[in-house]
Amino acid sequence: MSNVQIITGNQAAALAAKLCSVEVVAAYPITPQSQLSEILSSYVESGELKAEYVRVEGEHSALTVCISASTVGARVFTATSANGLLYMHEQLHWAAGSRLPIVMCCVNRGVGAPWTIFNDQQDSLAQRDTGWIQLYCRNNQEIIDTVIQAYRIAESVYCPVMVCYDGFVLSHTMMPVDIPDAAGVRAFLPPYQPHTILSPDDPRNLNPVLFPGQRRDSEGVLRDGYMDMRYKLQAALEKASETIRAVNAAFAEAFGRDHGGMLWEYRTDDADLILAGMGSIASEATVAADRLREEGIKAGVVGIRSYRPFPKADVRNAFRNAKGIAIFEKSISYGYEGGLCSDLKAAFYGTAIKAPIHNYIAGLGGRDVKARELAAAAKNSLAGFEKGMVEPQTTWLNTTTG
């Protein structure tokens, strides 16, 4: 039996946290996340959600509270955007380094200076190398479902998960969402089992200073040095790909919705031209692909769901027959190109995929980008490819450049 409600992305995320019975919430308001922390406050104050809500004085503390509460064995939740996420940066590393299954929503927003409250994905992309799993959502249904999946993933691999969704475009836009039933979620998500509990029953010194080399403990057992622990984090993230696929499959089985494991594909089977992106812009690209097909161009879309771990094998498979690729990104690695573009090129290296790639930077700071503009851009790329253009310059869409 479905329970469809028309809700915003922030409501979907809050409902998901409630369905997952989070035990500690710590959050600090920032547009466009604020509504999410407000809804959670009312859940906790009304008693709908039995959790401790720590109304911290800043995002560094928000994530710190989650880190410490998770260490003593509680399931935790936080959410932020833009400068709030940047303010957490030190603790993002701390959370991943401590191997804690924290789940956080990043309601994607451009970062200052100058200020913008509107959407792009520079905030989360800039946190790429912090050791967090990053999952991107294309609509509000995916937000609620992905947060639920995120806890199961995080608690299986002991890595934190950032569930990213576009500010305003999703966070403040109402869409029909099928709300999973509480009993179903309980069955899908077993209780959190910490890998180590900080407790007087078993005193330990967690996250201490390490030497570069391995050392023996008092029983003579050789223990990890710093670098060995770093390797384990990397291995866990690499292994997480399997877990993400498996959890997506288990979710599809339980709730009847498959959002793709590491990525999703749209009309790619016979596609010559593939549009790619993450989050709502990839969703919009599906409308562009439909338009292109109406014009006789065989277009399809690949939406990257898991940016870290990066779906290397999956993209090699998804793009294997592409004759041209247009990548639309809401962030930029200044001084080079879009991060997704670089990663895709690197994944294709040494394979038979030799399709030309055109990178578009689009929608920064909420700059409007319409499906027909994506279609026109992709069509333009295709025309260039057909003329033999192999390595086009990155194009800033709808922007005065030069």
Binding site: E57, T64, C66, S68, G73, P200, P203, N205
Partner: protein, 299 residues
């Protein structure tokens, strides 16, 4: 109430062989603090000398569970532990955040003020060695005027120490106290008392630091005592707003026989470049603070 050291909890929570320096005031004070709090305690701490005292992985000399966290995060880390324990119904554990003066007066102030304002149920222990010792004796806002540090190497520190206790007092805490490892019974009693109180309890511990301050390792206790005798350090507690001198400071307040600050300053290498004007300013500053306390005690 223990009238002598033999009446204190005999159990040791810090085994021999810590990585603190010889003569470290912190190791002495911390030892008595843990004895008072006993085993059902969780400690959280940032980068600082105490982090080093807690040992290098995979061994630790401390038998109390400890969560290391980043430099700015100590009080928030405690708030997370408290919230987590609360959510799991494990509310009988004492949570103590411990940080140095740098991690408290400077970088940790935001998280501490936030946690105190929220009334987080924990003890915050600031051990004050008046500088960033772990990183090599740089100036902090707790460094007294006239001290040479590695970032005030020629001109000495030009500003007075930040009156951080006043800042914490402005949070209207249920309990605030100052302690010194040179007076272990006073220290112990205050931790025993703090353990029983709910809400945010702030304890300020002055810890003489031989390498950072420039005195012989055998003189730690003596240096701590001189600090109290001269009124540079004042032992007191504020319980629900009620101020009370304790221990040796109480006697000094009653008798009015404080020693001049020079007796304390001249014994430490860090004050070697202090000029007479700074000395007079330091004396006036200490006198002023002392008068504030006297008025507070009389009120």
């Amino acid at each position: 109430m223990p009238e002598n050291l033999f009446k204190l909890n005999a159990k040791e929570y810090i085994l021999p062989g810590t990585r603190a320096c010889q003569g470290c005031g912190l190791s002495l004070g911390y030892r008595y603090a843990l004895k008072a709090l006993r085993e059902n305690t969780i400690v959280t701490l940032p980068a600082c000398c105490l982090c080093v005292l807690h040992g290098i992985y995979p061994s630790t000399p401390v038998m109390i569970p400890c969560l290391n966290n980043s430099f700015a995060s100590t009080a928030a880390s405690a708030a997370g532990i408290v919230a987590g324990l609360q959510a799991l119904n494990k509310t009988d554990t004492t949570v103590m955040a411990v940080a140095g003066d740098g991690g408290t007066f400077d970088m940790g102030i935001q998280a501490l003020s936030g946690a105190a304002e929220r009334g987080t149920d924990f003890i915050y222990l600031c051990y004050d060695n008046e500088g960033y010792m772990n990183t090599g004796t740089q100036r902090s806002s707790a460094t007294p005027m006239g001290a040479v540090t590695t970032t005030t190497p020629i001109l000495t520190k030009q500003q007075h120490k930040k009156d951080f206790i006043k800042i914490m007092d402005a949070h209207d805490l249920p309990y605030l106290a100052t302690v010194s490892p040179s007076y272990p019974i006073d220290l112990y009693e205050k931790f025993v008392k703090a353990k029983k109180i709910k809400g945010t309890r702030y304890i300020h511990m002055y810890v003489p630091c031989p390498p950072g301050w420039g005195f012989a390792t055998k003189d730690t206790i003596k240096t701590g005592k001189l600090a109290v005798e001269t009124g540079v350090v004042v032992l007191f507690e504020i319980e629900n707003g009620k101020f009370r001198f304790t221990g040796r400071s109480k006697t000094l307040a009653e008798r009015g026989n404080r020693l001049p600050v020079i007796n304390y300053l001249e014994k430490q290498g860090r004050f070697r470049k202090m000029n007479i004007e700074q000395l007079n300013q330091q004396q006036a500053w200490v006198d002023g603070k002392w008068q504030e306390y006297i008025r507070r005690a009389e009120a």
